[in-house]
Amino acid sequence: MNFMALKQPENSLLGSESDSQRTLYPYVTGTSVAALKYKDGILMAADMGGSYGSTLRYKSVERMKPFGKHSLLGASGEISDFQEILHYLDELILYDNMWDDGNSLGPKEVHNYLTRVMYNRRNKFNPLWNSLVLGGVKNGNKYLGTVSMIGVNFEDNHVAT
């Protein structure tokens, strides 16, 4: 996909593209995710497409996944980065389960964790190229939040990427 190559001015500080080990641009991407709170909980919606540029290459990509007992994560942007985030979350939930103390991570806690992950990656100039929507219900409390690839996060009654 060379037409997406970064055109840099002569005095750029970014360094050569071929030397870079960090994420420069996304390849297989997902489009928007929308979510809203309603009386009984959270509703989240996304299509199942993974696009390769303008081609709809993968047509059965699950861009929303439940995890833990209380939460649902939806992502737009680079699909492989989304899979990496799911990997991190699996480990997080596993450690949480191992305490076996009757407590479990709720959507608010996970939202905070993801914000920190996204922001720290951004600061290293190696972002996870996703916009995430995090929703869930714990002890009757509904929670809906979003995190962008630069670490901007907020909580609202309806969010979309």
Partner: protein
């Protein structure tokens, strides 16, 4: 049964003339002084139980967990020096998550037992480390069904149908041998383990104890977890009744 090492027991890197490493044997003594820990393999899973000797009435019940989950599908019960046990559990958790990360599936119980045993053995090879003063009973449920392993301070690990370590291990082993484990479900196993622990508890030497039990079986969806409170209560009641019937004779 005890023998004096005199001179050959100062370091774990020294053999005695009759081929023994005394430091490891002394480590095993630390395990023998701790409360009894039992594990049994039933038809559909593993049950583990610990006799937690209570040092003080001020301790909150349910604290000082002796049985730890290592991954979703397996758990370890520790006897001996509790702090040493925590180290081993931490290492086991780390091995399990690492395996999951690399191979994408939960660590097979056999592999986990080997890694834990290997780690325990490691600490018997260097003079600047002391052996772990704990024995471990490891129970898990993977593709090959439920499995039970025991790891000793020497680093030896074997697979068992039933295992016991700690103060009452001799009496416990005798009791376990009486059970028909291959026909027992975990629900029945929980009751039996409780009965055995109550039976081997020495009322004269140790005053109070708390019973902690966990299982991993079909009923718990192959997840390692504490035995549910209602079943635990049922087991305790059955154990106390069995004890009273015995005393009545």
């Amino acid at each position: 049964m005890s023998s004096i090492g005199t001179g050959y027991d100062l370091s774990v890197t020294t053999f005695s003339p009759d081929g023994r490493v005394f430091q490891i044997e002394y480590a095993a003594k630390a395990v023998d002084n701790s409360g009894t820990v039992i594990g049994i393999k039933c038809k559909d899973g593993i049950v583990m139980g610990v006799e937690k000797l209570i040092a003080s009435k001020m301790m909150l019940p349910g604290s000082n967990r002796r049985i730890h989950s290592v991954h979703r599908h397996s758990g370890m019960a520790v006897a001996g020096l509790a702090a040493d046990g925590r180290q081993i559990v931490a290492r086991a958790k780390s091995e399990a998550t690492n395996y999951q990360s690399v191979y994408g599936e939960p660590i097979p119980v056999k592999e986990l037992a080997e890694r834990v045993a290997s780690y325990v053995h490691l600490c018997t090879l260097y003079w600047w480390l002391r052996p772990f003063g704990c024995g471990i009973i490891l129970g898990g449920y993977d593709r090959d069904g439920p499995q039970l392993y025991m790891v000793e301070p020497s680093g030896i690990s074997y697979r068992y149908f039933g295992a016991a370590i700690g103060k009452g291990k001799q009496a416990a082993k005798t009791e376990i041998e009486k059970l028909k484990l291959s026909e027992m479900t975990c629900r029945e196993g929980v009751i039996e383990v409780a009965k055995i622990i109550y039976k081997v508890h020495d009322e004269a030497k140790d005053k109070a104890f708390e019973l902690e039990m966990s299982w991993v079986c079909d009923e718990s969806k192959q997840q390692h977890q504490k035995v549910p409170d209602d079943l635990l209560e049922e087991a305790k009641v059955a154990a106390r009744t069995a004890l009273e019937e015995m005393d009545a004779d």
